[in-house]
């Protein structure tokens, strides 16, 4: 049975393996030319196999960034197999039919690559690097090769699984903030796959087999799940021709709809106390919020700034300036599906997380009830403008902006629209968003205390 999104709100189980025919279209070398900001333009192409290509020319240095974003993350995993998306990301650096294990990095280093790496989130996996301008065809060849010719063998898988388990120990098991982050999602999501950490659970990783990775590769690593972003000292039509040459013949995979369970509405606060070998307390609070494309996201972004953007923000003044906390962060998490508005803070010595929580609740209530001054609003707009432009300052950050929004919202222009909309959000929108989403009964709270 094929479950469409229309009915997904009634589901509490995950469904896996529903395929739909891929509609084939001819590739077109006539790109859409889309404005980003100022004089920056993005050329957007789509190939017959579903592959998308975004090119942004910037000739300010003779280099370019080349990133491949796959629309697959830990959201696409199923219970008992958590961490597969991320573990597979590691496997992509192993051998292919054309290049034996270890060659990828050696070839990259030989041509002077920079920042070759990869990352996996709940919604996407991205492979990133920068290169001197003359190596466009070289990287297109390597990336297209591992999109279609990867070898997933048992020995390499076993070693890499051990590396990932070690990464888990490093970033989560022995890192209080990593564990707090894992716990807040674990508490706030009971049914949806955002419940588990992207790195996966140790018990799932330890029984994961190479065959699962092979299947994952077949399902998700295909042109119709990928977007290539090239930014820098290149010409868009030349990029198009090279990408066409190396990718156009790669077969699509069947579209796999993993229908996620939808969270039922939370009606009472959830709390969990976690004990660590720490010397100060920690507090993480999460409220359910909608997905990235929802009309309330711009107001929630501004709300995050009003609460904790900068040292003059409401929560900074109420928590840090009063000697309760030593730092804090807050904001809406941008995800493909409904996610969290997160507030985190480290307490000062001998201060209690529960006290900080009561201050946060009080400040949220004050924000809902009292007017927001025009100056405060303008301040937030300036801070958001600064952050937006700063995020576009070099080739790799530009590519990352385009890749992220193209994958999580289906169109990079949504990222620009979000910024533009956030600048015109008014005080009433902000208060409404706070009232609608920062509901005390909807909060999940993790408190980290000393053992």
């Amino acid at each position: 049975m094929c479950i469409t999104k229309l009915f997904s709100s009634f589901l509490v189980l995950l469904f896996f393996g529903c395929s739909q025919p891929v509609i084939k279209k001819e590739s077109s070398n006539a790109p859409q030319k889309l404005p980003l900001v100022g004089s920056l333009q993005v050329y957007k192409y789509k190939f017959s196999n579903g592959l998308k290509l975004l090119v942004l020319e910037d000739h300010s240095s003779p280099t370019f960034a080349y990133q491949t974003w796959y629309g697959v993350g830990s959201r696409d995993e199923v219970k008992g197999h958590t961490g597969l998306a991320h573990l597979f990301e590691h496997m992509m650096f192993k051998g292919t039919k054309n290049h034996k294990e270890g060659e990828f990095f050696k070839l990259m280093k030989a041509v002077g690559s920079e920042g070759e790496n990869a990352f996996t989130s709940k919604d996407y996996t991205a492979y990133v690097q920068e290169l001197p301008k003359e190596h466009l065809e070289f990287i297109a060849q390597l990336e297209s090769d591992r999109m279609q010719n990867l070898i997933v063998d048992d020995a390499a898988f076993t070693t890499e699984r051990e590396v990932v388990q070690n990464e888990r120990r490093f970033s989560y098991e022995n890192n209080p903030d990593g564990l707090m982050y894992q716990e807040i999602f674990g508490l706030a999501f009971t049914e949806h796959s955002y419940h588990w950490p992207t790195i996966g659970y140790e018990e799932d990783l330890s029984r994961m087999a190479a065959t699962e990775a092979s299947q994952f590769y077949k399902n998700f690593y295909a042109p119709n799940k990928a977007t290539i972003i090239v930014t820098g000292d290149i010409k868009h039509d030349e990029v198009y021709n090279i990408i066409k040459k190396h990718y156009e013949k790669i077969q699509t995979s069947e579209t796999l709809n993993i229908q996620q369970a939808r969270e039922s509405t939370q009606t009472t606060p959830r709390r969990k106390i976690v004990k660590f070998n720490i010397q100060i307390e920690k507090l993480y609070m999460g409220y359910p919020v909608p997905e990235i494309l929802h009309e309330d996201i711009p107001a929630l972004q501004v709300l995050g700034e009003i609460l904790a953007g900068g040292k003059s923000s409401r929560l900074y003044r109420a928590l840090v300036n009063t000697g309760v906390s030593s730092d804090l962060e807050s904001g809406v998490l941008e995800n493909t599906e409904p996610s969290l508005f997160l507030i985190t803070t480290n307490l000062q010595k001998n201060k209690k997380a529960a006290f900080a929580e009561s201050i946060i609740l009080r400040e949220i209530q004050r924000l809902i009830q009292e007017p927001i001054a025009q100056k405060e609003h303008e301040k937030v707009q300036n801070r958001m403008s600064f952050a937006f432009y700063e995020g576009l300052s070099h080739n790799s950050s530009l590519a990352r902006f385009l890749g992220k929004y193209e994958v999580i919202s289906g169109n990079f222009e949504e990222g620009v629209k979000l910024f533009q909309k956030s600048l015109v959000v008014n005080a009433e929108d902000i208060k409404k968003a706070a009232k609608k989403y920062l509901i005390p009964d909807h909060r999940s709270v993790i408190i980290g205390v000393m053992k």
Partner: protein
């Protein structure tokens, strides 16, 4: 092609002010932003005896009130401009790092001048900051990663100023007074020690005029404490930081490093690049991560100073693998000293550094950071653009000789963070040392 790239980058140099204050600015109008750093040649090494953390504290206090603005007013003004102003404290540099929308630059410069020239160091703010800094120190001690780095640095340098923790020690932070801070300000915030380095959407003349405007409001020069050269450790030393319930260890080891101006610096830069440098193809990554899956990361790196600072390595294997991984790494270092690089490894690494060298200065921000390093470490002008040229000239023999002369496998200081009851004995056994040779320190100890 490589020549063209390098020439192109080098042609994008900073324009320098002709006025006495050292001002360097690169115009870049791609985005409506300006990045501005006020770099002062002081740092944690200048913390007076018994006042560890005072330079960091001074840096933070600069942002907490001037004769005309309270802390709250400074915070609000910066946020209203959409600006960021932070103070970074290094061992030998105090850097006010500012970034702002170019449309708000003049307001920002006015505030920055006030912050630099008219701080008040109000008693109330000192008290509040003390509490924040002490909490940050406790946070640093709570995280395995920051804790081991802090302690490994101390174990390596002992009482040398390079061993001082940037944030300080809680007991000493508690003693800071208004007088201490004013005295430190008067001694170190002067334009003899100051450089202004920036890039962005404005002209040098604007930054220059601004700098001229406050040059007379701060002292001409002050006393500088000359950091002496740290001494090598005589014999290998082992420390164990005991923290309960660890499922993984953090291992840091190292020795005293080298000056960037030393004739062996570039040979050793290449050697380290091959051994444990910033890539997935190094010997350490290959042996420890790729072949054995022992650790997610395995690296080695230099930390640079006006005096030789450190060469260190780190890895973080799980408890069970820690003894083998540590012994294997120490043997790798010994082996590396004896055998050096093979011709193939040398050639591959040299090519990689040369081809990658353009990325050392391909953005205005990177060029700002390079200049900042040149200024703070007293490097010759243009030093950071010379990597390609210097590495091109190296021979395998030079590199291997430099490795032999530099590495001291028998004089390493090794710090292991883990749970002593599970791990001390196996580690001691694997290393073939006595129990007494590994000193155990509780993780709560500063």
């Amino acid at each position: 092609m490589r020549e063209i790239i390098l020439t192109w980058f080098i042609s994008l140099c900073f324009i320098k002010s002709v006025f006495a204050l050292d001002v360097n600015f690169e115009k870049d109008s791609k985005l409506p932003l300006v990045y501005l750093n006020v770099v002062i040649k002081t740092g944690a090494v200048d913390d007076p005896r018994g006042k560890s953390g005072l330079t960091y504290f001074l840096g933070q206090m600069l942002l907490r009130g001037t004769k005309s603005e309270s802390k709250e007013q400074i915070d609000l003004a910066l946020d209203q401009m959409g600006a960021v102003l932070e103070v970074e404290t290094r061992a030998e540099a105090l850097i006010l790092r500012g970034s702002v929308l170019s449309s708000k630059l003049s307001e920002f410069l006015k505030l920055l001048k006030s912050i630099l020239t008219q701080p008040t160091f109000h008693e109330r703010e000192i008290k509040k900051l003390k509490s924040e800094v002490i909490s940050k120190i406790l946070e640093e001690l709570s995280s395995d990663r920051t804790l081991v780095l802090r302690r490994a640095t101390k174990f390596l340098f002992q009482d040398h100023p390079y061993g001082k923790p940037i944030l300080g020690i809680t007991k000493e932070v508690e003693t800071f007074s208004t007088e201490d801070i004013f005295s430190h300000y008067n001694k170190h915030i002067n334009h003899g020690k100051m450089s202004i380095i920036g890039a962005g959407d404005t002209d040098l003349s604007i930054i220059d005029t601004w700098a001229k405007g406050f040059r007379n409001s701060i002292k001409e020069s002050g006393n500088s404490f000359l950091v002496f050269k740290p001494k090598d450790i005589v014999t290998k030393k082992f420390y164990f930081i005991d923290k309960p319930d660890r499922t993984q260890t953090q291992i840091y080891g190292g020795q005293i490093g080298i000056l960037m101006t030393d004739k062996n610096y570039f040979p050793l830069y290449l050697a380290n690049y091959a051994f444990g440098g910033p890539s997935f193809t190094t010997k350490m990554m290959e042996e420890i991560r790729v072949k054995r899956g022992w650790s997610y990361g395995a690296n080695s790196f230099f930390r640079m100073g006006k005096q030789p600072r450190s060469w260190q390595f780190n890895l973080y294997p799980k408890i069970k693998d820690a003894p083998d991984a540590l012994v294997y790494t120490l043997n790798m270092i010994k082996d590396f000293r004896e055998k050096g690089l093979t011709p193939e490894e040398f050639e591959r690494t040299q090519k990689s550094i040369i081809n990658n060298s353009g990325f050392m200065f391909n953005t205005p921000q990177k060029r700002v950071e390079n200049l900042l390093l040149e200024k703070t470490l007293d490097l010759p002008s243009g030093f950071m653009t010379r990597y390609r040229e210097e590495v091109s000239k190296l021979t395998l023999n030079q590199v291997n000789q430099a490795i032999k002369n530099f590495l001291k496998p028998d004089q390493l200081v090794v710090t292991v963070l883990g749970t002593a009851k599970d791990l001390k004995e196996p580690i001691v056994k694997a290393l073939g040392i006595s129990e007494n040779e590994m000193q155990v320190i509780p993780y709560t100890q500063e």
